[in-house]
Amino acid sequence: MNAVADTLVQGLLLGGHFALSGLGLALAFGIMRIVNIAHGDLLVVAAYLGVALVRLTPLSPLAAVLVIVPAMAALGWLLQRTLFNRLVGQGDLAPMLVTFGLSIIVHNALQELFSADFQTLDAGAARTASVEVARMHLGLLPLATLALAALVYAGVHALMRHTRFGRIVRATVDDPEVAALMGIDARRVYAAGMALALGIAGLAGWLYGIKSSFNPLTGGNELLFAFEAVIIGGLGSIWGSFAGGLVLGIAHVAGTQVDAGWGAFAGHVAFFGFLFLRPGGLLARGGSGHG
């Protein structure tokens, strides 16, 4: 019984990371219809940005987030304005090809700048600190990740539901042509959407850099996990991605209980199970549900 509870709790904590790294992917698809193949690599870019900041500035690895998030948001805005906006209305394949190309460029640029060696954002004691609750050891970093994920999801939900910006985004997703009749320039909405998506990816990538060791090629796995979280939850549902991330985390931890090397495998099995049994996703609904 205790082992089951432990698996569930540790799974939820790991799931916070998957949920947070999946949100940027879900937003890019939900708002711009872009399947961003470079999403995992952009998480790694955020982690390397942390490495560079620690090397070149007096910022600590923990304080680096204050620069990483706005810098990644700015990168998202720039990518959308210069590159992705050219893909609007070109079908589903064009964005996948372009972001796949971007992924290759990122791999090579990072190898050139930082070499292929594994690195980490060394946050010292903060990385391994834990608290004991009900005879379970809970890592402070995973706890903080889950709490941040819940906060960011709630924030995005509120932004989409209750603000002028969210209203404009939902209307543009519904019908960009009619939104233009109201004076809305869809390309600016998409740029803001990508800034939001990559700003959140910046936060997720920073946490990833503290939690794991990474090199220029580890983004592929991060993309896979983020993608699985989004699909399990249901495309187009923001809270679905949160639930999908938690389910994936539980599957990973349960797999690790069987064999230390089986975590990711169990996650993939769970992903295929959901794809088979509930292809629309956990929180799938009719129409476009943002929230």
Binding site: E177, L181, M182, S288
Partner: protein
């Protein structure tokens, strides 16, 4: 200076041309009824003015400024609003959110939520409903209200009566008369000639993308209009 001036406008979709050298002028505050059969180019003409289907030749001038080639969102910000064919409300927004979207360009004027609800009292109790849960007539009220929220100087209405009961259509046109009384210029597209002639100060008949006949309300000769509408062989 006329409010709106079209000079030899061509427009179409890809290789298909829908408008051939259309010219017209509209003075501020007047209502122009645009009549013609299915496929005559009425909707394309409205889309060309609003910037959704940019003219391939000719000029569109509004308040003296050249709109030709300007993106739709910039034209909207200058005070041109379109109630699109089939209403096209934002499905994931409530009635009130749809109306608020109309005010996105931030133009000042008499139209706001309160004055829209005064014009269409039916919408008040449904303000928090999903926009697509309303009846067809109520949806059309939302579409008109959404366009008015932009405080336009020119309102383009595409087939308001489509699929609606005559009593509902009469209500909508009564509301448009109030809009017109506020000094807003209107171009109203209708297939129903009687409805169109009653609503407009002037009328203009399109056939196969060309202007075939035009006049003012007093000069509406039903026989001549019918010949223009259907082509001379049908008369």
């Amino acid at each position: 200076m006329p409010l709106l001036e079209l000079d030899q406008v061509d427009a179409g979709y890809g290789a298909i041309r829908a408008l051939f050298g259309v010219s017209l002028t509209l003075e501020a505050g007047r209502t122009l009824a645009l009549i013609g059969a299915n496929g005559a180019g009425k909707s394309t003409l409205l889309r060309a003015i609003a910037g959704l289907t940019p003219p391939s030749a000719g000029r569109v001038r509004f308040e003296g400024a050249d709109l030709t080639g300007m993106p739709a969102h910039a034209i909207a910000a200058r005070g041109v609003a379109l109630v699109p064919e089939g209403r096209r409300l934002f499905a994931s927004l409530t009635v009130e959110e749809n109306l608020l979207m109309g005010a996105s360009a931030g133009r000042a004027g008499p139209w706001n939520l309160q004055s829209i609800y005064t014009l269409f009292p039916d919408l008040v109790v449904r303000r928090q409903h999903g926009a697509t849960m309303l009846s067809g007539g109520q949806q059309q009220m939302v579409a008109i209200g959404r366009a008015l929220m932009a405080n336009p100087r020119l309102l383009l209405c595409d087939e308001l009566s489509l699929g609606l009961a005559p009593v509902v259509v009469r209500g909508l046109y009564a509301a448009l008369a109030q809009v017109s009384a506020q000094g807003v210029a209107l171009i109203v597209v209708e297939q129903d000639i009687g409805q169109a002639l009653a609503a407009g100060d002037d009328w203009l008949c399109l056939r196969e993308g060309e202007v075939v006949l035009a006049g003012t309300r007093g000069q509406a000769d039903r026989g001549a209009i019918a010949r223009a509408y259907f082509g001379s062989e049908a008369a």
